[in-house]
Amino acid sequence: MIPLVLGITLVSFFIMHLAPGDFLTQMQLNPNVKPGTVERLRRDFGLNRPAYIQYLYWLRNIFEGNFGYSFSYKQPVFHLISQFLLATLLLAVTTLVFSWAISVPMGVYAARHQNGFIDRLMSIIAFSGISLPGFFVALLAMLWAQKTGWLPIGGMESPNYDALSPVGKVLDIAEHLVLPTFVLGTRELAGTMRQMRGNLLDVMNENFIVAARARGLKESVVVWRHGVRNAMNPLITLFGFDLSGLLAGAALVEYVMNWPGLGRLLLSAVLSHDLYLVMGSFIMGAVLLILGNLVADILLAVTDPRIKLN
């Protein structure tokens, strides 16, 4: 785990140095920046020293929680990231719950009624779901919102958010959550549903299913207790992988729909060449992914007795 994180820091540092020019010169030219800030940054990050020393400085700073300073937002990077992180997590969690709650039962149904009407219909939905570009669906959703006015057009909070009661605040955020969740969720859903269907079909051909029936168990018990349980396992391992896709997809959707999340932060940082912010969000994204994989591994070890954690 540790070498992995170190490796990632190396990669991001390397990328940072690929960017041409010394961004500090840019800052110096910016009249809004106090001269002392530039000097302080120069010192803190050792920008006068050779690259590998800079890396060590940077590493030390990270451990102290100093991720650098954002030029466009005029705040410490760490502070910014923690704000935006919550929004992304909220969106990610609701999307996962929404999509899995629908895709698992539907996948099971499709497998049980193979080649039936619903199966074919779901197959089409699934294929469409994974083929539509996320940002395109987001655009369409925004267009629809604008035309019908039923749901807010992007953003996380209404302009009058602060004036709302606590319940009102929750409802307001929920209202804003609907479209982004739907946009992200349909893509998620599509993939998981096909997975579930495929897995279940494979599992139902296994010998232990026949043996379970030979014990006199009801078909529904055989399907759910033995079939679906076994079919779920590969899905859990994919969870970490899904998370990566989710974070990626979320970035674009956040951008188009103005959801104030980590992805959008990274995007705006990239577009404005705000390098420390880019690196900070980048590392945060990687950490999230690693955590996601870790959660998946733990879940798998808990549910599958054949796996041991290493």
């Binding site: 570009p133 267009l143 041991k308």
Partner: protein, 404 residues
Amino acid sequence: MPSNDSPDNEQIKEQTDRIVPSLAESPEPMRSTQDTRAERQMLTGLSAKAAKSLSSKTPTQLAWRKLRKNRLAVLSLAILIVMYLTAFFGQFIAPYDYTSQDITSSFRAPVTIHWTPWPIVYDQTSHFDQYHFMIYTDDRSKPHRLLFFVHGTPYKFLDLFPTDLHLFGIAGNDKVYLLGTDQFGRDYFSRILYASQISLSVGLIGISLTLIFGLLVGGISGYYGGWIDDLIMRLCEVIMSVPDFYLLLALAAALPPTLNPLEVYILIIAMLSLIGFAGMARIIRGMVLSVREREYVEAARALGVSNFKIITRHIIPSTYTFSIVTATLAIPGFILAEASLSFLGLGIRDPMASWGNMLSAAEDLSSLEQHTWLLIPGFLIFITTLTFNFLGDGLRDALDPKSR
């Protein structure tokens, strides 16, 4: 209760089990979470059984026959061939090139073709309406016949053959805007065709690079093992641990803004391939590992066949099935990634056209409501991705030895 002097059958059996454990089959070795994750991470949909049964060499004819039965896959293949052919001949099919601007024709709607019975379009006059939107109306006094195989703006077909032949066009100064124009008055239809060249080729070239490097690196890593294997796998792990899109963004941000469009194009493809190859190398390595221990490889080694020959003649061909399916299913990923980057302005840059960067014009919602044809590139991306997915799915079923 058995006495100590005369052990009963139970005890004998127990002792035999302990003394000669090899007689009883040993239980399955525990697998680590890393192995399962790597194995499943990219086996999306591939039945685990089919992946394990590498020994089945499916004859190509059998696979082709199975594929033909899948009408959806065949239809998708046909559509893709048509699309790629259209892109290939894009310069010919497009009446104009992708840069000629005409501000006076900004945001013209797709032209209406009147069949009289010969296709006819009218010149258009423009004026501002009360909302300050430009309105175009047909000027019926100036009809133009739609002509085919006309001589228009000169271009170099494939950068090699200079010519000026176009599929269709009209005489005179005005232009026929089949799909309208964009903000700068550039013919949308032509831009879409030129964009298709970029967007479609990125996928193909990118996947070829990823395949080659993935096979090479995975093959070497799996075959030689040892510290080479460890090093390469660590590297791949690091690359795979970063959400691909974030990595892509970060790399794109590092690109200097002074590159010319061609260099941008090449670098984008390089970046996409780099990110994709890590996962592929890892899976290939896994497959190589399992094939390496097979008897026919041992036999080849015993015969003195060189390592290189073993890798290229025996081991890599066993990965073909997986490679073909993964490649086909990965192309949509490349296309979407390029589209996303270009949409954000980080990929293919103006004036070079790509479906992604053409869609960025759709971000302005109020303008979008008026000019809905701006969404067309999105649907084109959708169709391309969809057909590749259908084809890939069909290929997977056709090559899976376990399916009927």
